[in-house]
Symmetry: C2
Subunit: 341 residues, 2 copies
């Protein structure tokens, strides 16, 4: 039962005040990846382009919420905006695998129903987050991988696109640099050690969103091209429910970005929500404990965006920067990249 | 610092009693799947065969622990025994996909280091649990899928086997029955509804183990052929760290079996350990809350085996049976199938 108005009996008549405005906050937070992002290494034009695209994604998501749309719709609206941009490591701006193509992962979760959908290693899907949502809503499964996920897409009328659609010169040069580094390292190390020795920027990059709608439901979604020079059908944390994405109305919604293997092993998204739920921590405290208290000591780099049903938002990372933006009924739009803004 | 002996100063001389036996419990629990397992539907010979194979797997795992082997070694020893048997839904006894072949999933996790490895959708790997361990120990990744995972296997000298190796008459007949049921249902429903209408036995079946070694380290592993008539590269909970498998020395080790989609959405393995860690619950209490308190009301069927560093064991399920066995320093070997034994 939803309480929609506060009424007082005055002189034998009811006077009612609608509680909508006060009772129904909306909120959204988005990220475009965390990592070694230094102001000195960006031109003013690059910085402006990133800020503008983040703002555009934020506005699209927030507009959905303002119009009474669902948190799921807001998450998809924000993420598809970032997927379509070559600036971020997802879909159009996806990094290259070791073999020179693109393998995309995404997942989405509905905090109200705990329904979830995920796709891993898809190569011909223009919007992996939209396909993840179709998996959630139109299949009896949660997680589909590779060719099978694309066969499902076809069965739903989703067109398959050429993998070259995701080619960009910048990412191709990153792959060449990564392979050069791998070759140098491999003189005396195996592939495992060589990949681990790659600088953080080669291992991170993701987009994501979390949202709270006026019905009090939260949702989370994440989409990525994964790790530069990844091999062997590697699946990172982004499509793993509990690691890269999690949403539960009883605790919080999380989208993560960072060195995915750590986020899987430390069950990062769900662990933040477990601390909120079982210890009564705020989203900011829980996110700080997991990112700075758990991951930093073991060398896991990255960040998370988190929100709860009250519209509290945390944007937490242990890297020099995280592309991020947020807005809620009670706080204006904010866009930031570096630690201090 | 480990206390290895209790010493008393008596008449100016120390008398020491080694604390090894009391201080270093070992324990193991295994499962071979949960579901609608009725005594009336099994012949005495079938029941005996299942009990004997469970006992053999238990003994192999326990022998590793008794000899001072690691919990990881014990988990792999027990699971490979079940993988090689046609009686259980993993490797040799794997169910068929909709397209008539076998796609295998497995994962393993080390509670001491929180290292983990997982493979999903492999078709030519004789022991998926052993490959998951190689992913953990020899790759920089946690989760590998499909052809890529097999390319990694080859790079590690693991021979690829014919998918027909996993063919069994019993499972083939199960597939035909499942497809007949799907056809009937699809007269007026789509594939999603039809799969959801399939009886539980078509959707479950897994093997797994959790162990505690004399060094105080716990580990967990899970291996499966997945869901009968699965499609579209479906990945269940077994290879998803936090859902089907989880281990953390600070809380507990879990291997799950059941309708995997629910286990992913409810982050079952990690949620049990979160309740142990953040609420101070026993493994039995936490397992009961999640299986009977969370999953049963939403229709999620299955079970878990759980243990902690003290050697406490919980074998919890909300189905009519779960193939299971356990043994520890303080309790003799027990093998059971039905609710009451």
């Amino acid at each position: 039962m939803r309480i929609t108005a506060l009424c007082l009996l005055m002189s034998a008549a009811f006077v009612c005040v609608p509680l909508q405005a006060a009772e129904r906050p909306v909120a959204i937070a988005i990220h475009g990846g965390a990592g070694t992002i230094e102001k000195s290494a960006m031109t003013p034009a690059q910085e402006r382009a990133h800020r503008e695209k983040l703002r555009e994604a934020l506005d699209r998501g927030y507009a959905v919420l303002e119009k009474g749309g669902s948190s799921l719709d807001a998450v998809v609206a924000a993420i598809t905006t970032l997927e379509q941009s070559p600036l971020f490591n997802a879909a159009k701006g996806a990094v290259y695998t070791f073999d020179g193509h693109h393998e995309l992962d995404a997942s989405i979760m509905d905090g109200k129903t705990r329904q979830a959908g995920a796709v891993a290693g898809v190569q011909h899907i223009e919007s992996p987050i939209s396909l993840a949502r179709l998996v959630m809503e139109k299949s009896p499964f949660v997680m589909l991988a590779g060719d099978g996920a694309e066969e499902f897409a076809r069965s739903q009328g989703v067109p398959l696109v050429d993998n070259k659609l995701f080619d960009t010169k910048r990412r191709y040069e990153q792959l060449q640099k990564a392979k050069d580094k791998l070759k140098q390292e491999r003189k005396d190390k195996d592939y495992q050690a060589a990949v681990q020795a790659l600088p953080t920027p080669y291992k991170v990059g993701t987009v994501g969103a979390v949202a709270l709608d006026k019905y009090g439901n939260i949702a989370a979604g994440t989409s990525t091209g994964g790790m530069t020079a990844k091999r062997y059908g590697r699946i990172g944390d982004s499509p793993v429910i509990g690691a890269g994405t999690f949403a539960d109305n009883d605790s919080c919604a999380v989208s993560a970005t960072g060195h995915g293997e750590y986020f899987i092993r430390y069950n990062v998204a769900a662990d933040i929500c477990a601390r909120v739920r079982y210890r009564g921590e705020s989203v900011a405290q829980a996110a700080d404990e997991v990112i700075n208290g758990v991951l930093t000591p073991v060398g896991g780099t990255g960040g998370v965006i988190v929100l709860d049903r009250k519209g509290n938002i945390a944007l937490t990372f242990n890297t020099s920067g995280m592309y991020r933006a947020s807005r809620s009924s009670s706080s204006p739009a904010q866009v930031a990249i570096f630690k201090d803004n």
